[in-house]
């Protein structure tokens, strides 16, 4: 059917948005609203008027497809060119690739979970405005998962450790950290999910991942990661405004919502902050050419930007998230504590670790004048010395994990970086262990949820992480070898030190071929 516009006048942005969102909504007549939207009441959030919702970006589906298609065209043109020209040989050095192995295994699958979560939240909300915004975000998130997997598959042709990320996500010990974070969010109600992911993660924390780290990828010659990273983050700008809008909307609807939202903000800022430890380590240790330290990025994107945000939200009765004093103190420490952990457990991971060079140690000393020389540099130098003597240190005792964030107990007491922080709670006759006051309090608020956590170390000790048919009672049984087999990690190829690895040798040989006539 050919439709002709008769008025000759183009609709303004606001009018068009109204027609294409609320104008397409209808009131149910033969089913009750609470049957159609069954998840609206149980979290205790009270919404009186969904029409008060305002989407700040007045993007309609027709414009959405147009601009997303344009982004995809740009992205795939760059990815194709990068692959066609063996762009992988232009990265600063092959150690860098280990940062993006972590990205693929630890971060891209979260994009897929976000896709599922926003599809679910969008379905659950009775208001047309948030429903449309969640629909777009759900589509964005599956696009991010796919573009990241496509872009990184190029590395899988040449390097080890990229071969089985979805299998590993369900099993490998450190991947249970990001995985359980998102599983916690998608199993919450739709309002908590929106505060958890839409607000706390998207608004307060994702800049730290996608802005300085991706800018760092560009700095290190990785055009593939730069292009998928910035293409994803261009959607994030919309997600962040959705996150901020949902918080304002919920808080304005009813004063009873304030304490519920406050507890979610406290919980999810802490949960997200713990997950980002991984990104701190990637920035400080895994980018051969460094752009800014984790601490500097934290100050710009969390302290300054988050500070402005919480000042703005104060008029609703919202205060800044709990445990900020500890978070502020720990910015000098967590990236170093995380790297030390992965270095020690380098035999049980799917990427390589290494001893930083003198130049890198000096950079860290300069960026962390109050902590690095005193607490961390001597240990790294000692390990490097040991490695030189052929005694590269691999820790073979499995660490205790925190019941909530699932990170090994590697963090230190608030204000004392020489003392490991432990907390415990007795619940139903069982003892549960935590890395911090934050994780302990989160458990105490929802013990029935968190007592069920699938903790990789505990599962290994219970014999649940060996391939089918394994007999642990045979003589000379090597549990680590069997666990790696279960993970699909190839011993000696995907793991251990970067020095002497196949990746290191191949990269050097191929770069030599690319720059000489040999």
């Amino acid at each position: 059917m050919d439709m002709k516009a008769t008025s000759g006048k183009k609709l303004g942005l606001k009018e068009k948005y109204r027609h294409m969102t609320r104008g397409l909504d209808w009131e149910p007549s033969y089913q009750k609203k609470e049957d159609i939207y069954p998840y609206m009441a149980y979290e205790g959030i009270k919404i009186h008027d969904w029409d008060k919702w305002e989407d700040p970006f007045r993007l309609t589906m027709d414009s959405y497809w147009k601009y997303q298609a344009e982004k995809e065209r740009k992205l795939y043109a760059i990815i194709d060119a990068y692959a066609q020209n063996n762009g992988h040989l232009n990265v600063t050095d092959a150690r860098y690739l280990n940062a993006i192995k972590l990205f693929l295994t630890g971060i891209s699958p979260l994009e897929y979970m976000a896709h599922r979560g926003f599809a679910h939240a969008g379905r659950a909300f009775p208001g047309a405005g948030p429903r449309v915004a969640c629909l777009m975000q759900s589509l964005d998130e599956i696009r991010h998962a796919q573009t990241q997997i496509h872009a990184l598959s190029n590395y899988n042709k040449h390097y080890n450790g990229f071969h089985d990320f979805s299998h590993m996500l369900q099993r490998v010990w450190y991947l249970s950290v990001p995985r359980s974070f998102f599983d916690d969010a998608v199993t919450a109600g739709p309002f908590e999910f929106m505060v958890a992911i839409g607000f706390s993660f998207e608004y307060v924390l994702t800049n730290l991942l996608f802005v300085p780290f991706v800018s760092g990828a560009a700095y290190n010659g990785d055009m593939g990661t730069m292009t998928f990273g910035f293409s994803a983050q261009s959607d994030e700008a919309r997600h962040m405004t959705l996150g901020l809008e949902i918080i304002k909307f919920i808080l304005e609807q009813d004063p009873d919502n304030v304490p519920i939202v406050q507890r979610w903000i406290d919980k999810w800022t802490w949960r997200g902050y713990r997950v980002l430890t991984l990104v701190g380590m990637m920035m400080d240790y895994m980018l051969p050419k460094r752009i800014m330290s984790w601490k500097e990025a934290w100050e710009v994107y969390f302290e300054q930007n988050g500070g402005a945000l919480f000042k703005d939200l104060a008029r609703y009765g919202i205060r800044p998230p709990k445990w900020l004093d500890q978070i502020a103190f720990d910015k000098d420490h967590i990236s170093h504590q995380a790297w030390a952990t992965f270095y020690q457990y380098g035999a049980a991971s799917d990427f390589h670790t290494w001893s930083p060079t003198d130049d890198e140690l000096d950079w860290l000393s300069k960026k962390y004048p109050d902590s690095f020389d005193k607490y961390y540099r001597p240990r790294l130098e000692h390990w490097r010395e040991q490695a030189k003597q052929g005694k590269r240190f691999y820790n073979t005792t499995l660490p205790q994990l925190c019941q909530v964030c699932q990170i090994p107990m590697i963090f230190t007491e608030p204000g004392d970086p020489t003392k490991t922080c432990y907390r415990e709670v007795d619940y139903l006759g069982e003892k549960f262990h935590f890395c911090s006051d934050g994780c302990k309090e989160i458990f105490e608020n929802e013990p029935e949820k968190f007592k069920q956590a699938w903790l990789p170390v505990n599962q290994i000790y219970q014999g649940n992480c060996f391939p089918d048919g394994t007999d642990p009672t045979v003589e000379d049984f090597e549990p680590l070898a069997k666990v790696l087999e279960y993970y699909h990690v190839n011993f000696g190829r995907d793991n251990l030190d970067f020095e002497g690895s196949e990746d290191q040798k191949n990269f050097a040989a191929w770069r030599g071929m690319a720059t000489t006539n040999e």
């Binding site: 942005l13 606001k14 993007l59 601009y67 901020l244 402005a308």
Partner: protein, 89 residues
Amino acid sequence: MSTVFIALQANEDTRPIIEAITADNPHAVVNQQPAMVKIDAEHSLVVRRQTIEELIGRDFDLQELQINLITLSGHVDETDDELTLHWNA
């Protein structure tokens, strides 16, 4: 006073946009970083369609910003003519 910001990919499409933002927001500070440009401004920042159109010599839809936008902060208000970022406190 709180700071808002907008970050754009550093490419040919965004050069005139950054120029327009700088012209319309004399208080803004432009930070060049690898592959991106981050513009910080105290309290508020405005992106004007007309200023961009004058620089590029063609019609410009402010939603085209979506293509090269990396991130932003502050409350967003978008009309046909302006995209404004601001904090209320």
